[in-house]
């Protein structure tokens, strides 16, 4: 066989166009690929945050661009008992509500983790308070806490246990506890369902082994369930703290920060000053004053979650 090998055909390499050369250039490609994400972040995160911080240093009112006034807004804020009261209530509200939500949420998750009849349906029902729009919850609670028309007062009076209406939101401390109660009611499902998901990832063999070793129920919870649940507990708690601290709708719809500003959270106070009061600068300063608290909550989660022990149930070495 003497076939003359045809001269090997080589595809003529086309001269690369300038455009395709550009796209082959790695730095350019990187920039182009990052651009949409960076653009979104700039437009929807960095710009509003930056604007909010800038406004906090000006005397802007609604519709009138302000002058730079330095720290004046913050100086006034620190002298303002209403702001200090809002700081106190924000921390108190977040603290007590978080404890309540996690105590009851964990308990509920443990109950739901058992084999129950109609398990799926029960779990769906549990989620209801969380699915209902917050403002509807708030309106329902507004009626429940109404000084004249509260159904709870009505029941107590009908049963002859009281002669007057219960003071839910008419004075400072009852109003604070009432709002915390509403927030806990609303927050439990989120905690319960998240923790339930965590519970289901725990291997049953651990419990079997513990049973063989003759453990008690409390020991199984303390030495298996709780450590295994910690990673998800930490992240759910971080979210919960952030959501609670920045809560707005419940308080604004039920008390509007009253009676006499005693239930203002930083978020509602910032809104009250900024939008109805028109002082965008002061409102922004109050909003900015939330940042240290939120940074603290985020750092807490970062360092807590970075611990391998929590993630893998091993020692930290």
């Amino acid at each position: 066989m003497s076939a003359v090998a045809e001269k090997e055909w080589v595809r003529q390499a086309k001269a690369q166009s300038a455009l395709s050369k550009l796209f082959d250039w790695k730095p350019f490609l990187v920039v182009m690929c990052m651009l949409p994400a960076v653009g979104l972040l700039m437009v929807f995160l960095t710009y509003p945050l930056g604007l909010g911080i800038w406004l906090a240093f000006t005397d802007t009112t609604i519709g009138r661009s302000g002058r730079f006034v330095g720290l004046e807004n913050f100086e006034f804020m620190l002298e303002d008992p209403i702001w200090w009261n809002a700081v106190f209530f924000s921390v108190f509200y977040t603290g007590i509500a978080t404890i309540g939500k996690f105590g009851l949420g964990l308990w509920l998750a443990l109950l739901l983790n058992n084999h129950l009849p109609f398990k799926s349906m029960l779990r769906a029902i549990i989620l209801l308070p969380w699915i209902v729009p917050t403002v509807l919850t708030a309106i329902a609670f507004w009626w429940i806490y109404n000084p004249q028309f509260s159904i709870i007062s009505w029941i107590f009076i009908e049963l002859g246990l009281r002669t007057t209406n219960i003071d839910f939101i008419n004075t400072a401390w009852p109003a604070r506890w009432s709002l915390i109660g509403a927030n806990i009611w609303r927050g439990i499902p989120f905690v319960a369902i998240s923790l339930l998901a965590g519970l289901q990832t725990i291997s049953p063999s651990l419990y079997e082994a513990a049973l063989l070793d003759g453990s008690t129920g409390w020991q199984r919870f303390r030495y298996i369930t709780f450590p295994m649940l910690l990673p998800i507990l930490a992240i759910v708690m971080t979210f919960s703290i952030i959501f609670t601290f920045t809560d707005f709708q419940l308080v604004y719809a039920i008390t509007r920060g009253g009676p006499v500003n005693s239930t203002h959270l930083l978020a509602t106070l910032a809104f009250q000053r900024g939008i109805p009061g028109g002082q965008l600068g002061e409102g922004a300063a109050i909003a900015v004053s939330m940042i240290p608290f939120l940074v603290f909550a985020t750092l807490f989660s970062y360092f807590a979650l970075a611990r391998r022990k929590w993630q893998q149930g091993e020692s930290n070495d």
Binding site: S65, P147, D167, T171, G278
Partner: protein
């Protein structure tokens, strides 16, 4: 709720025109006397003019229908297209602010009383049409004059369109049973009546919560009826005065007579609910409460037993109440200022204004004296008190000039919270007064 009225769509505006015609029939013989021989200022309408207007949403459906029909008729007569947007009450101040400061947006805003004073520099002066309307329709009423003219001048920057107020709303049977023909017009007598009503289990209740309308109205009445005010004539803060202290001490006694459960958490709607549920027998509110009761067969007996009267004057020479006023503004950025002024004049003229006023059933009262004779004021003797709403001699921020700060003090409930903290026993009257003074100084510092 945008509605663009064009020459063509006017033909389709049958419903509105029918409503207008119906309104016209009911009051076929107008009693409104327009002065003869007053000539309107000449306002040559710009070529190709189109107008956009914002106003607050209606109380009652015919308000919007007649308003749109009036604008449609303007389009018919002048060829100027008019688009009217109806904006929620909470939003109109913010939208006015943004319009004024961006120099873009509607040509005309029918906003609330204070707005023209806050944005005076951005507005077209409307003295020509205001003076013309005043001459033709028996003169402007006090509050209209006060809110229309720039402080201390005769230059009109706003054109008041209507006003409403919140008088004392009371149950005749309860007040009579307590031994009073009508609520006393002096402060000690009023307190005495509230005490007796409380003993009879038919208490009074006035909002002391963060309620923009009712809360501020009650707090203002407490201040003004004791001769106190948030600022003096020059606009300097004047809360820290013996008069304020007297008002606080009075409220302390009065609050003890209020409905069980208290009113410190009351919003704007709470007194309406409590009154309609036979929980509260004396309160203060706009006319809407009466109509809501009257139009519901279940509460009709309460409406029949309801009367309106002034809150006690106390130290004030007249009813201490600031009407909520609609105040129209024409913006400098409008390319068609003449068309804008022509439209406002047209809407204020008798063939348009009277049917509109009548359609509002008394929710809005006229700013011009001649319209006191409009048919609406003869329809129900119980709403007669609203007829002279615009003759009230008080305004938000009284005694000082109307400013951005006076609006802010209202929006931040400075006075309401001063009273509420004393009522709740959270602060002594002296401490509450000092705190209110501190907050007011911050707000009025500019």
């Amino acid at each position: 709720m945008a509605n663009i009225i064009t020459r063509r769509s006017v033909l389709g505006a049958g419903a509105g025109m029918a409503a207008l015609a119906a309104g016209g029939d009911a009051y076929a013989q107008t009693q409104v006397q327009a002065a003869a021989g007053v000539t309107a200022p000449t306002l040559p309408i710009e070529n190709g003019a189109t107008l956009r207007m914002l106003r607050p949403v209606r109380f009652v459906a015919p308000d919007e229908e007649v308003f749109r029909a009036n604008c449609a008729r303007f389009t018919q007569q002048t060829g100027v297209q008019v688009r009217v947007d109806f904006v929620g009450w909470e939003d109109i101040n913010q939208q006015t602010a943004v319009t004024a400061n961006t120099g873009a947006g509607p040509d005309i805003i029918v906003g609330f009383g204070d707005s023209p004073h806050i944005y005076a520099d951005k507005l077209v002066e409307v003295s020509d049409i205001a003076e013309y309307l005043g001459r033709k329709y028996g003169g402007w009423m006090f509050a209209a004059d006060k809110l229309g003219k720039r402080h201390g001048t005769n230059n009109w920057i706003g054109l008041p369109f209507g006003g409403t107020a919140g008088p004392l709303v009371w149950r005749k049977s309860a007040v009579n049973a307590a031994g009073f023909q009508t609520p006393p017009n002096d402060l000690p007598g009023f307190l005495d009546m509230c005490k007796k009503l409380r003993q009879a289990g038919k208490p009074a209740g006035f909002a002391l919560g963060n309620a923009v309308g009712d809360g501020n109205g009650f707090a203002n009445w407490l201040m003004w009826s004791h001769g106190a005010s948030i600022t003096d004539e020059a606009g300097a803060v004047s809360v820290n005065k013996p008069e304020t202290l007297a008002a606080l001490n009075y409220l302390k006694e009065l609050y003890a007579t209020f409905v069980d459960g208290g009113t410190i958490s009351w919003g704007d709607i709470s007194n309406n609910q409590a009154y309609a549920a036979n929980n509260v027998f004396v309160t203060s509110n706009g006319v809407s409460l009466y109509f809501a009761l009257k139009n519901d067969p279940a509460t009709r007996p309460i409406a029949d037993d309801t009367e309106h009267s002034f809150l006690p004057f106390g130290a004030a020479p007249s009813w201490p109440s600031a009407p909520l006023t609609l105040n129209a503004m024409v913006f400098r950025h409008s390319r068609f200022p003449n068309a804008s002024k022509a439209l406002l004049t047209f809407l204020m003229e008798q063939p348009q204004y009277e049917p509109w006023l009548n359609a509002n059933l008394g929710y809005w009262a006229q700013p011009l004296n001649a319209y006191r004779d409009s048919g609406v004021w003869g329809t129900d003797p119980k709403i007669a008190i609203f007829r002279d709403t615009m003759n009230n001699r008080f305004w938000n921020g009284y005694k000082g000039p109307i400013s951005e700060a006076s609006g802010q003090a209202n929006a931040e409930y400075v006075l309401v919270q001063m009273f509420a903290s004393v009522a709740a026993g959270q602060a002594t009257p002296e401490a509450a007064m000092r705190e209110a003074e501190r907050r007011a100084r911050r707000i009025f510092r500019r």
